[in-house]
Symmetry: D3
Subunit: 132 residues, 6 copies
C-alpha cells in the first residue's frame, strides 16, 4: 500500500514537483505565474509567523484531502521546527473538522512525517526555540 508519492522518496517528490512547476511557469501564461507567486508569498512571515501559516496550509490540505499538498506542508512545517506533539494536535483538528474520510490521508501523512524525520536525522520531541 502506498502514497501518492509512493514508490518514490521524498527526494523524488521534490524533483517531480520542481520539474513540472518549471514546465508550467516557462509555458508563458502570466496569470498562472502570478498565482504561483501569490501561493509562495502566502506562507511568509508577516503578522502571523511562517510556522503558523504552514500549519494553516497543512490543516487546509488535510480537510481538502490532497496528499501532495499535505506532503509539501509537512516538509515545510518540519523545516520551521514543528514538533511531533504539535503535528498531531494539528492532525487532530484536521481529523475532527474533516471527519473519518481524512484518515487514509492521515496514515500517509504520518508515514511522510517519519520520512522527514529520518531524512533530517532528528526526532523533534521538544518545543523548538520560540524565537523562530
Amino acid at each position: 500500500m502506498s502514497h501518492d508519492h509512493n514508490g518514490t522518496s521524498l527526494e523524488e517528490f521534490r524533483k517531480y514537483r520542481e520539474k513540472m512547476n518549471h514546465k508550467i511557469l516557462e509555458q508563458g501564461n502570466l496569470q498562472i505565474k502570478r498565482f504561483f507567486n501569490l501561493d509562495s508569498q502566502a506562507y511568509e512571515d508577516g503578522a502571523l509567523p511562517k510556522k503558523t501559516k504552514e500549519l494553516l496550509g497543512l490543516v487546509s490540505s488535510m480537510v481538502l484531502r490532497c496528499d501532495d499538498c499535505i506532503t509539501y506542508h509537512i516538509i515545510q512545517c518540519a523545516d520551521v521546527g514543528v514538533t511531533d506533539p504539535e503535528f498531531f494536535e494539528a492532525f487532530n483538528i484536521g481529523l475532527v473538522v474533516g471527519g473519518s474520510i481524512v484518515i487514509p490521508h492521515l496514515r500517509r501523512a504520518v508515514e511522510t512525517l517519519e520520512e522527514c524525520r529520518t531524512a533530517t536525522g532528528m526526532k523533534k520531541e521538544t518545543s523548538p526555540v520560540r524565537s523562530r
Copy 2:
C-alpha cells in the same frame, strides 16, 4: 492503470492500514484515539443494522471520492453479506448523488469487489439470510 491500493493486493491494503493505524494510536494523542473509537463504533449494530450502516459508509465514501474508504467499506459490506445487486444499487445512488466525477472511483470499486469475491471464493447473487 491502477488503484490507490494498486500494485498491492487487498491483503497488502489491510497490512498497511493496520501498521499505520497502530503507529497513529501509539503516538499518544488521546483525542485521535477517541476519534478512531467513535469511527469504529459508528458501524456497529444498533437501531439500524450493521449492514445498513456499512452501506451508509460506502456511499458516503463514494460521494466524497475516497478510494481507501470505499475499499474498506466494500470489504465490510461483503463480510456482512451484501449481494452484488445490492452493491450496484448502492453504487448507483453514489453515482446519481455525486455525479460522473464518481465514475473513476466506481471503476476501482468494481475491481475491488471482484477481488473480494475472489478472495472469499463466492459470488453472492442471492439475498443473505435476513437474520444477520
Copy 3:
C-alpha cells in the same frame, strides 16, 4: 438563525421545489429531464428497500453538506417510517464520516425532523413494522 428553507415552512419548501422543478423540466432539455428521472428511480424499492436507499440519500447529503437535499431525504425517510433512534444513528455516521463541518447542517436537520414530526402529528420512538 435560520435554515436554507428558513422563514419558510416545509410546505413552502415543497412548493418552491415543485414550482422550479416544473420550470426546469418544461424548458425542453431532454437530458436534464432524463437525469431527473434517474434521480427519482434511484430511491425506489429494489434489491435494497426504499428505506435503506433514502437513508443512503440522507447521509450522502449530510457529508456533501446540502441543506435542501437533507430536508428532502428527511421528509422521505420519515414517510417510510424511519424512527428517531434510526435517524440519529444515521446522523452520527454523517457526522463521523464528514466531520464537525457537518454540525451546522445537523442542527438544521434536527429542526427539520422536528417540523416533520409536528406536521404528521406523531413522534416515532419505536421501530416501524419490518415489512414496509
Copy 4:
C-alpha cells in the same frame, strides 16, 4: 423557499457584493488585492473568448455548489449573449458532472436566470451574433 440572495433583488446582490469587495480591498492586504485582480483577469478575452470563460466559471461554480458564484456568472454570461439553450446545456454538464446534489442550486440558478431576463427585458432564444 429562497435563494442565498433571497429576499433581495439582483440589484441588492450587486450592491452587497460591491460594498463588501470594497471593504476587503481597502483594508490593505496586498496579496488579497492581487488575488482579486487575478480573478477578474481570468475571464477576459484571450485565446478563449470571454463567453467560453464565463461558461467555465459558471459550470465550475455549479459543481462546487456556490450560489453567489453561480449568480455572478449567470449575470456575466447573460451580458455576453449566452442563450437559454446554451445555458441549459451548460447546466446539464454541471448536473451530470456534479450529480443530484447540484439540483437545489440548479433550481436557484433557473430563478436567477429568469430575473436576469426580466431585468434586461429580453428572452434570448436565438444565437447571439458570433462577433461578440
Copy 5:
C-alpha cells in the same frame, strides 16, 4: 444580500446554535455527544496554543466553505486576541488554498468580523500580548 446568519445578529446566531446543540445532546445518542466533546477539546491549549488552533479551525472552515463554522471561529479568534492584520493573513491563506469560490464566504466573514469588533467595542490593530 445576507449571511447564513442573516437577518439575525451574532447574538441570535449564538442562541440558535445553543438551542439546537442542546436538543441534539439531550436526545440520547452517546456517540454524537462524544463527537461534540472531541470537537470542543480540539481547540484547547496544548502543544499548540488555542489561538493557533482557532485559526486552524477558521481557515479549515473557509476552504470547506461553511459560513456558520467561519462565524463561530471568528468569534473565538476575536476572543483570544487575533488582530485584523492576522485575520486578513489567515483569510488570504484560505483564499489562495481554496480559490475564488471562497470569496462569497470571505465577504460574509469580513462582515462578521465587523460585527464582532462592534459588539466588543474595540478594533484590534496591534498585536495582543504574547502571553495569551
Copy 6:
C-alpha cells in the same frame, strides 16, 4: 513521482477505463447504464459546440480534483483541436476558481497534455480551423 495513471501510458489508461466500463455495464443495473449514456451525451455538439463542452468537463474536473477525469477530458479536448494557449487559459480558470489545492493536479495535467501531444506527433500552437 507519478500520476494516478502512472507507471502506465495513456494507452493503458484507455484500456483499463474501457475494460472496467464494460464490466460495469454488463452487470445489468439499468440505471447505471442510463447514467453512462447521459454522461456521453452531455458533451456532444448542440447549442454549445463539443469543444466548449469538453473544456467545461475539463475545468469542472480540475476544480473537483479528479485526475482520471482531467486525463479523459484533456484527451478529448486535444482531439477536437484545443491549442496549448487555450488549454492554459482553461487551466488558469481551474486554478483561480479552485485554488492552490488544484496545483498538484495541474502538474499531472501538464504531463498528460505532453503525452497527448507526443502521441499524436503534433504541438498545436495555433488556433484550429473554427468550423470544427
